[in-house]
C-alpha cells in the first residue's frame, strides 16, 4: 500500500514537471514533448490509482487515455504539415 502511495506521488510530481515544461517551453516541440509525457503518465496514474482505491476494474479509462494521447500527437504533427508553409520562423518562441 505504501509503495502504491509513493508511486502515486512520484507520478504526480512527474506530471507537475511535464506541465511546467508545457507551460514554459523554449520551442513548440518542447511543449508537445511535455504534453506527450503528461498523457502517458496520466494513463499510468489511473492504473495505479485503481489499485490504491481497491477497485482496479476501471482500467478501460487508462486505455482510452493512451489511445487519445496518441491521436492527439498525430493530429498535432498533421497540423504542423498544414501550417509549416505559413510560419517557418515561429519554431522559436
Amino acid at each position: 500500500m505504501l509503495a502504491l502511495a509513493a508511486t502515486t506521488i512520484a507520478i504526480l510530481s512527474v506530471m507537475a514537471l511535464a506541465l511546467a515544461r508545457a507551460l514554459k517551453a523554449d520551442t513548440v516541440y518542447d511543449r508537445i514533448l511535455g504534453i506527450n509525457m503528461f498523457g502517458t503518465k496520466t494513463a499510468l496514474f489511473i492504473a495505479v490509482m485503481g489499485f490504491l482505491n481497491g477497485r482496479p476494474d476501471f482500467l478501460d479509462i487508462a486505455i482510452v487515455y493512451a489511445l487519445i494521447n496518441f491521436i492527439g500527437m498525430i493530429a498535432v504533427l498533421r497540423f504542423f504539415e498544414y501550417t509549416a508553409a505559413d510560419d517557418n520562423q515561429s519554431i522559436k518562441e
Binding site: N53, R55, D57, F58
Partner: protein, 118 residues
Amino acid sequence: MSFIVDYYNYWIVVFLMMAGFYIVISATNLVKKVVGLNIFQTSVFMMYITMGKVSGGSAPIVAEGITSYSNPLPHVLILTAIVVGVATTAVGLALIVRIKRAYGTVEENEFEDKEDLI
C-alpha cells in the same frame, strides 16, 4: 484544515468559472473565446461531480463488499452534457471557419469596418 477540504473544490470551481468568463469577455480572438467557453463549461461539470461525491464512497458500479456508492445522478447528467458540449463546440468552430472565409479575420475588433461584406 477541514474547512479547506470542505470548500476547496468549490473555490477551484469558482476560479475556473471566472477564468473561462474572463477569457470570453476579454479575448478578441474567436477561437480563444471558444476555449474560454469550454473552460467555463468544464467548471460546471466539476461542480456537479463534486456534489455527487460521498466521502468513503465508491464508483456507482455494483461490486461485492462495497456498501457506500457515490451519487449516480450527476454523473448521468454530466456524461450526456459533455457529448452535447463537444457537439455544440463543433458548431461554434464551424461558424468561426465560415466567419474567417467571409471576413478574412477571426479577431472581433477587426469586423467593424467590414459590415457590408455579408
